[in-house]
């Protein structure tokens, strides 16, 4: 079942909705700012006017970060679900997120690597290591390709890596305080500082995903069907794994681990455009951006003047869907 019989119609509609929500994201927040001031902030910006600063230097960077991270995590989730044929696959549930966060924390705490430029690479190394570990554990388990085994392997590796990260926290209590909010997943103004370093990874990953979309559709029908259609399933799986790692790493480097985005958005997208990955991937990117913009808006406004970490909101929204999917799949 899908909402749009012709997926071509979905793209402009989602894009239009994304623009509307992006404007709402600009217009609303913890501090009310008049529409005329918002417009002034763009055509005659004044650094002395804090309302202008809020719009141009706080909300715009958050908006860009939310769009990039939402797109990256959603496409990563869609690819994982397609490649593993597991509707519960998600960068968070399969430990990529924990791996990426662990990579950043280890690099920063033990290797003394604190320059922003290295963060995506550290996150990618951690995510790749976690992905390999999950795969190896699943391969050696009886009925290793079943959704349950993959999910349990992911949960085990995730728990292990989170415990290690907490251990580092205990050893470096005070220094670690700077990581605390980042580890709960938070879109903030300074996320944009990471963008120049994360962007090449992000763009590369999205282009690779878009370029592989047709083959992912074949792969999602099973390895044998994909091979029958002339797809080298093993080589494609490895390429897509790297693509997923790169997308997850760029997102984690920018805002920390944000759970459930990669799970929720691809399922919502399938309801809109069906199961053809030529549409799922671009639409997931847009729906993911849209979703995270709404989440960030809620995080800023629900308890204003206090702000909630974005990760708390995504978990709050994603966890019920996860339970629903578990009931349906397992």
């Amino acid at each position: 079942m899908r909402l749009f019989t012709n997926p071509v119609h979905a793209l402009p509609l989602i894009f239009g909705l994304l623009i509307v929500v992006a404007l709402l994201h600009l217009g609303f927040g913890a501090k009310p700012v008049a529409l005329s001031t918002i417009l002034q902030a763009f055509h005659s910006f004044d650094l002395q006017n804090f309302d202008h600063v809020i719009i141009r230097q706080m909300r715009v960077p958050r908006m860009i970060a939310a769009i990039c991270v939402g797109a990256a995590l959603s496409v990563a989730g869609a690819l994982m679900q397609g490649v593993t044929r597991n509707p519960l696959a998600d960068p968070g549930l399969l430990a990529l997120m924990s791996g990426a966060a662990f990579g950043v924390v280890v690099g920063s705490s033990f290797l003394g690597i604190e320059a922003d430029i290295w963060m995506p690479a550290l996150a990618a190394a951690g995510a790749l290591a976690a992905a390999c570990l999950v795969t190896i554990i699943a391969l050696f388990a009886p009925s290793g390709r079943s959704p349950a085994v993959l999910l349990l392997s992911g949960a085990a590796v995730s728990a292990f890596l989170n415990a290690m990260t907490s251990g580092i926290n205990l050893l470096n209590e005070e220094s670690f305080s700077t990581f605390r909010v980042w580890l709960s997943g938070a879109i903030t103004t300074d996320a944009l500082h990471m963008l120049p370093y994360a962007a090449p990874w992000l763009i590369g990953g999205l282009l690779l995903a878009l370029g592989s979309a047709r083959q992912v559709t074949a792969l999602s029908m099973g390895h044998e069907a994909a091979t029958g259609l002339g797809v080298n399933a093993t080589s494609l799986s490895i390429r897509l794994l790297l693509c997923t790692v790169v997308l997850t790493a760029s997102a984690v480097a920018m805002v920390g681990p944000l759970g459930f985005v990669g799970l929720v958005v691809p399922h919502a997208t399938r309801l809109l455009v069906g199961s053809d990955y030529r549409w799922i991937i671009p639409c997931s990117a847009l729906v993911g951006a849209l979703f995270l913009l709404m989440v960030d808006l809620a995080a800023r406004m629900v308890l204003a003047p206090v702000e909630i970490a974005t990760g708390v909101v995504t978990t709050f929204l994603g966890a019920p869907l996860f339970v629903l999917l578990v009931r349906r799949v397992l």
């Binding site: 913890a30 706080m58 205990l170 103004t189 003047p305 702000e307």
Partner: protein, 325 residues
Amino acid sequence: MKYLLIALALICSNSVVLADQTRLFVDGQGHEVRIPIKAKRIVSLRGEQFTAPLIELGAPIVGSTGLVQEAIHDGKPFIRGAHDLFHTTFEGSDIAFVGAPKQPDIEAIAALKPDLILVPDFASDSYDQLSAIAPSVVINIWSNSARERYRRIADAVGRLDRFQKLEATFDFRLARAKALTEKLLGDPSKISVAIAEVRGKRFRVYKNYGAMSYILKEMGFSRPDIIENIDGDRLDLSPEQVQAIDADFLVSSYADHFGQPPADLRANWDNLIPGWHLVLHAPRNNQHILIDREPMRALSFRSMEEILAIYLANIVTRDFKRLGE
């Protein structure tokens, strides 16, 4: 000579009696604990909150939790707060390291044969295990004022007399400082001071934060409404609300050896709240006061007196521009 020997014997026997005698103490979590009148072997499970004041009181500490940081004390365990304020080290004292504050080493504590264990409220999960080793009292960290917390600690270890002497000296200095403030500034409540920090991705304002906030309150300075109305000790505010903390002075803390030097502190503000130094009165007029966090956090009259001196120099006795001028 005979009388002298008798007097000495009486004093010694009196000390032994005091140490061996016990009394009932109701701790911060309502436990009714029988503790020594004057503890002789104390284990402290929080460096800056317990060990530091115990050192100032001259109490006999046999064990303390500590932290391990690669950049501090050559990577060896150190006692937070006490290390910074009194330069007390495990190697240079008779205090044994008994693990991290959130993960105390129960076996190491038992091996010390303490007669009293001080437990912070946020780490009281292992209270039952600790009470099996020795009488253990929970001291609430955040819900008491600094002085009241200190008094409770002094009371628990049987050093109220020493506490009162230190308190009298501090009160004398505080009274002099308040008199000078009124003389130079008039009504201190007309001067507002906000305590706020940006750490990582969090913009946090404080109603209660160690000696920094305690001395401000004792001196009679006011706080911005949003801080005054906090239900608790601190609040994470949206960076968009930074103007709500506008005050005559802004106070933040740095911790150089924890990798948070003053320069990073300002960079954190810049990253999270661009233009903060233009929109807030205090940094715009060079009225942003930076305080070394670790000595400030060490609960002690020494720390309170140091902070008092900082405020006298940076608020009371200098020319500054008032908010709204």
